[in-house]
């Protein structure tokens, strides 16, 4: 069974099997023979993988697994490839300005239909008590500015959308 696992933004396609005795996680970099046993305090486990043995604390969230190991916390995103295909989105990321963090729109400099050049200011936002100017990712025509001055937005909301580039 396949899972896409994401660590520090990097995705790896994996395929887990059981050979009757042991789990094997197949990755593009090779197979990992592995075993995980609950032990000790809440969330405590012992992991054996390719000859290494590690004690860790672990918690499983809906989309990510959190692992505390050797004094560090790691987050591993889990994506079911089937679900990703079903919910695949349209539009190139190059066409959008995505909110880097939640905040408020202070001013909007352009409107749909405007021709903009790469680097041209589109809107000014305030997040975490700081003013930031967001600029056009490329030359193009503004398709949509979903937020008006004074509006609040969330992390990863689309703050500006450019019309798709003509091939």
């Amino acid at each position: 069974m396949r899972r896409i696992l994401q660590i520090n933004g990097e995705e790896t396609e994996t395929w887990l099997v059981h050979d009757g005795a042991c789990f094997i996680l197949n990755t593009p970099d090779g197979a990992i023979h592995c075993q995980l046993e609950a032990a000790g305090a809440k969330g405590g486990h012992v992991l054996r993988a390719n000859g290494k043995v590690r004690e860790l604390r672990l918690a499983v969230g809906p989309d990510a697994t959190f692992v505390h190991m050797n004094g560090r916390v790691h987050e591993i995103g889990r994506i079911d490839p089937a679900e990703r295909l079903a919910g695949s989105d349209s539009g190139s990321s190059d066409d959008r300005v995505i909110a880097p963090m939640p905040g408020v729109v202070l001013s909007v400099a352009v409107k749909p239909g405007d021709q903009v050049n790469e680097g041209q200011p589109l809107l000014v936002i305030e997040s975490m008590k700081l003013e930031t100017t967001l600029t056009a990712p490329r030359d193009g025509v503004v398709a949509e500015m979903p937020f008006a001055e004074g509006d609040s937005f969330g992390l990863k909301d689309i703050l500006a959308q450019l019309a798709p580039e003509e091939e």
């Binding site: 290494k52 860790l56 604390r57 672990l58 499983v60 916390v73 889990r78």
Partner: protein, 489 residues
Amino acid sequence: MTISKLLVANRGEIAARVLRTAKARGLATAVLRHATEQEGPAHLIADEVVTIDGPTPVAAYLDISQIVEAAKRIGADAVHPGYGFLSENAGFVAALEKAGVTFVGPTSEVIDLMGDKVRARAFVEERGFPVAPSAIEDDDPASFVERASAVGYPLLIKPSAGGGGKGMRVVREDSTLETEIETARREGERYFGDGRLFVERYIERPRHIEVQVMGDGQGNVVHFWERECSIQRRFQKIIEETPSPALTPGQRDEICETAAGIARAVKYRGAGTVEFIYSRDGAFYFLEMNTRLQVEHPVTELVTGFDLVAEQLRIAAGKGLSAAQADIPQTGHSIELRICAEDATTDFRPAIGDILLLDEPMGEGIRVDSGILDGGKVTTDFDPMLSKLIVHGPDRAQAIARARQAVQNYVVLGVTTNTGYLDAILAHPDFASGDVSTGFLAEQSETLTAPGEDVSDLLMAAAALSDERLLSDVMQISEMHRKMGGWRN
């Protein structure tokens, strides 16, 4: 005057911390809670939880009339404001006074004076205490730009009504001065409803050193030594310690006595902190006075052995200071780490999430002032600081070692926190040698957020083998193959 019932007009770790002392002293206790707010440790400690409401949770905690009304309704004879929210709001103090409720803190006049950075500065300068070269817009608005330019570069623009680093801009050349002034003015208007500014000379690679003071309101003031707070991101502290590794004993006495002198000049009542900017040549200048308990007060408690909240309550009850200066020791070394829900690798972006597993460190020389509970939810409604880890050791090296061990064992799973980043700071050779400035985190950002050893094979194995749905699918297939008798690997 006695205090028998205390309302803590705050939340999170500081509410829990104040409540613990109040309860230990036999007071009846109450704390606020917004209708949508997660249950926290404070709600479990307080005898009574008072629900407040407002358009946003923060707005509710800033609603003076609602909170004063709540204090009267439950029969609280005193209110402790914690830090932030209404702790430095003279209007709140006046409203409580009018309602006959004691405010645990200074008078509204002193809050007013120290809350206005320009007036505070002028007050301190007039009494012969050191301040950095500056220009104040209000003195003559027409010539402000010209006078600012004359202060010399680099300079720092600050809102007169500001604090906490908001709206501050560093200007390095004349050509950008006017546009930066306009930006700072807009920020000042937005955050503080006040666009007045002042500029002062920007001290390169400065340290931030502050002094804890306590006054009885009659002119008697003692200090509880200094705290070094140079480890800051976005002008906000994340690691504080005492004693400061930068000061010689002579400099320590000088800076602490200066702070006590400033507090004496205003006949300060209660706990306060005088902040200084400390230049590499040993000169120091008054920055501001915070008229409340500070986030980082526990390091002072661990080296002096005093409970500062108990001192505050004692003074508020009119019983005066409990100790003379000579009776306040500075023993060993203490470090505080602020555990924040934020991602240090993406410019400290606040993180949200459910706390799936919480295990906080314990042991000798370790104190945790926590505002979270296992199973709780971290939202963006409030500040990203979740808790504070404070350690004490016989000397600085041992305190650092203890802090590293404790922060490595501080397990918060489910929401991104800065524990790994804090440990990376403690492990940095410049931190170990004490050679830091307020720019340290920015200068070392790449080193401090560098990825550690690549353990992705282990992490992927752990994630796959703890995924119940994946395991059940895999086992079903394995079972099917076994039954068909065709399984070979």
